[in-house]
Symmetry: C2
Subunit: 204 residues, 2 copies
DNA sequence: GAGAACTTGCACACACGCGTGCAAGTTCTT
DNA sequence: AAGAACTTGCACGCGTGTGTGCAAGTTCTC
């Protein structure tokens, strides 16, 4: 009565589709299904054996990315806001490959439910960290916290986009320092904080 | 023998197409020709009386934007690099409406000849200002100047994107301060520089 | 007002991308 | 080995957007 579980290679193919999809959609959100399928080593027709529509595939890709983001952020221990902010950047960076598309979509296109839902906790936390930092005068106070938050979000994305171009060595560090700078923290202070976070990161 | 000059209303319509095109393409680079024509108060068919193809229209829109950018930057008097940088941001901001689409295209899509050509002088100047500033230790020196330049470019765009959301009052100021922050200048220092530029701007 | 310039609306051909049906394969599973 | 699961390739129909031709307007210019 119970239907037999799906074949092993089918699961592999589905996986390949999600990976190829993330990669292709990262470059072009309108990438044709044909290309995604080809990148996954499948025919366009076969995709419909795994997803009912192109949109369903895209949603699945996004959902997976969102999932990883949430996991990456995870528990953020109690610490001063700027350190927390830097750590958030570092964590996000570590999940970067899977996250890239999602993060961009979340900001640029007004993507529907999935992304917004998954990103909201991070947004909230970012907002909280920033207003806490603003109270302490640790970040710029000449503009509303809301604006700072928007700029910091984009700064995080910018690091991702720029990363490929420059050598990848300093990218993870940039993921910590640049959002801080975008919030108005001076470069040397940002570097100091990054060092601090790096140390505690190494300890764990 | 000499063909009579084009009709006056035709020129007006062409103009309307360029304006509507800039507006429509700013929102969606793939906006259908039909929409652009309608926004300009014309039929889709009429467009082909002014431009041989959709792409030609897009190119014309971009070319005009690039032109305005170049004009906006214009002569940048001799002054310390950070002041110059802030002024550059302010000038760009003043040309924002026409420039928005072009600036984004220049960075995101690897748009063909036109944009790259028009943007290059600005890029070059930005590069020069930043390396000059880096030598003086005025900006962060822990990453290559090339990377800083890329991040500052994006920071400038980010201000444009975020501007609509927040109140427009502080946007122009953000156009000066945020790129500075992205370069590693602390918020208070950035504000000081912006004030300085504002004063000399008012004097002129 | 006459004629040219411009616009319109319709027609069509073309290209691209999605979603589906079906027959003929290939590959896993038991 | 047998059968189910999965994939393939081809066939469509559908929708959308571009570029073109042409006849019938409308609007400017002289």
């Amino acid at each position: 009565m119970t239907p037999r579980s799906p074949r092993a290679d089918s699961a592999r193919n589905r996986e390949a589709l999600l990976i190829a999809g993330a990669e292709a959609l990262r470059r072009d959100i309108d990438a044709p299904l044909e290309d995604i399928a080809a990148a996954a080593g499948l025919s366009r027709r076969a995709v419909y054996g795994h997803f009912p529509s192109r949109e369903a595939l895209v949603d699945a890709v996004i959902a997976r990315g969102a999932e990883r983001i949430a996991a990456a952020v995870g528990p953020l221990n109690e610490e001063p806001p700027l350190e927390a902010l830097a750590r958030l950047g570092a964590r996000l960076w570590d999940a970067v490959v899977d996250v890239h598309a999602v993060a961009r979509m979340a900001l640029t296109s007004g993507r529907t439910s999935t992304v917004a839902y998954a990103m909201n906790p991070i947004r909230r936390r970012l907002r909280a960290l920033l207003s806490q930092a603003a109270e302490g005068g640790l970040v710029r106070t000449d503009i509303p916290v809301t604006t700072i938050a928007a700029l910091v979000e984009r700064a995080a994305i910018d690091v991702l986009e720029v990363a490929d171009a420059s050598e990848p060595g300093c990218s993870r560090r940039l993921a910590m320092t640049h959002p801080l700078c975008a919030a108005g923290v001076g470069a040397v202070e940002a570097a100091r904080i990054a060092d601090l976070v790096d140390q505690t990161e190494a300890a764990a």
